[in-house]
Amino acid sequence: MTVVATGFPALGSTASVLVTEPALAADAERLLRADVAALDEACSRFRPDSELSRLHANADTEVTVGPLLADAIGVALRAARLSGGLVDPTVGTAVIGLGYDRDLAELTDDPMPPARPRPAPGWQRVAFDPVRRRVRLPGTVRLDLGATAKAMAADRSAARIATALGCGVLVGLGGDIGTAGAAPEGGWRIGVGDDHRLAADEPDVVVTLGSGGLATSSTTCRTWRRAGRTVHHIVDPRTGGVAEPVWRTVSVAAASCVDANTASTAAIVLGRSAPDWLRRAGLPARLVGRDVVTVGGWPR
């Protein structure tokens, strides 16, 4: 079974789709492009015309949102609940305070220090009715769905493309990987490293995955400079500042990409107690700090 990959820049990162039927690669890319465009229109916090921006503009008002944004909010709130608030979509104001207020490619060195960190308002303050798709955000809450929306899209696009084309599909959005359909013999071969752009050709390790999802969170990418210091995008909701530098990169395999991403992000935030947390969750993971630690059946 031959695996064919195509990709394109998207969401400030890279979108890739792998299929087990070479003749279907172009169709798969067309479907993925449509899904990525829809995600950007619904969930981007940088686009003034996105549905999320319109939601922010209507703070303190109950708003009906579209199905995709509703699902992304539901997934983000579930991730917050299951991570005990370690992955919290209400970090939007904190992320902006750190200087991440526009597309990453547009960020420049800023001599001004970041705003004083303040804890995130908390995901419990988002009033959300998933059945009626009604959302009410307090005026102090700005959502950053980046941690989970991309992962949700990877899962969904893989499933949609596999159903539409009838072959095995892997979708990678940045470091977030979702799979659907029958994997190639021996599994999907995934290079794992600090930077997803280099991990395929210069991996720290190559693993195979038969199903489910795999996500990597890292403090070494998506960085910028403030007041002479390098700042990254993974915020600890408990403080509103960047996560403590215990692990620079965490990779997790789970039943879905969303769950893998939730766990990898939570592990970066959690720091020293992350290996025990991942063990208790039964999730295979690789944590890279001063040393490399593997748990939950991740191959050594």
């Binding site: 695996v3 990959a5 400030g12 990162s13 792998l18 609940r81 299951l82 990678g172 940045g174 470091g175 977030d176 990987i177 021996g186 999907w188 071969r189 995934i190 290079g191 794992v192 490293g193 600090d194 930077d195 997803h196 752009r197 280099l198 991990a199 395929a200 050709d201 991996p203 390790v205 190559v206 693993v207 995955l209 038969g210 199903s211 489910g212 999802g213 795999l214 996500a215 990597t216 890292s218 403090t219 070494t220 990418c221 998506r222 990169t249 990779s251 395999a253 789970a254 039943a255 879905s256 769950d259 939730t262 766990a263 969750a281 039964g282 999730l283 295979p284 059946g297 991740w298 191959p299």
Partner: protein, 61 residues
């Protein structure tokens, strides 16, 4: 008195039925919560590739 007794008996039956329905719903809801309210583990953990090359990379973005 008979009317009150009848009403009370009828009310009890209705209350019992409502309570049973609520309990049944609660049991189903709790079961559903137990299956979805945790991060899902993979069917199989990743394995080391013995072929060396990778089809795609997973890392920070």
């Amino acid at each position: 008195v008979q009317t009150v007794t009848t009403w009370t008996a009828g009310g009890s039956l209705v209350a019992a039925a409502v309570l049973a329905a609520l309990l049944a719903h609660g049991t189903v809801a709790a079961r559903q919560q137990a299956t979805t309210d945790q991060l899902g583990t993979p069917d199989n953990p990743p394995a080391v590739s013995d072929t060396g090359g990778a089809d795609i990379g997973s890392g920070g973005s």
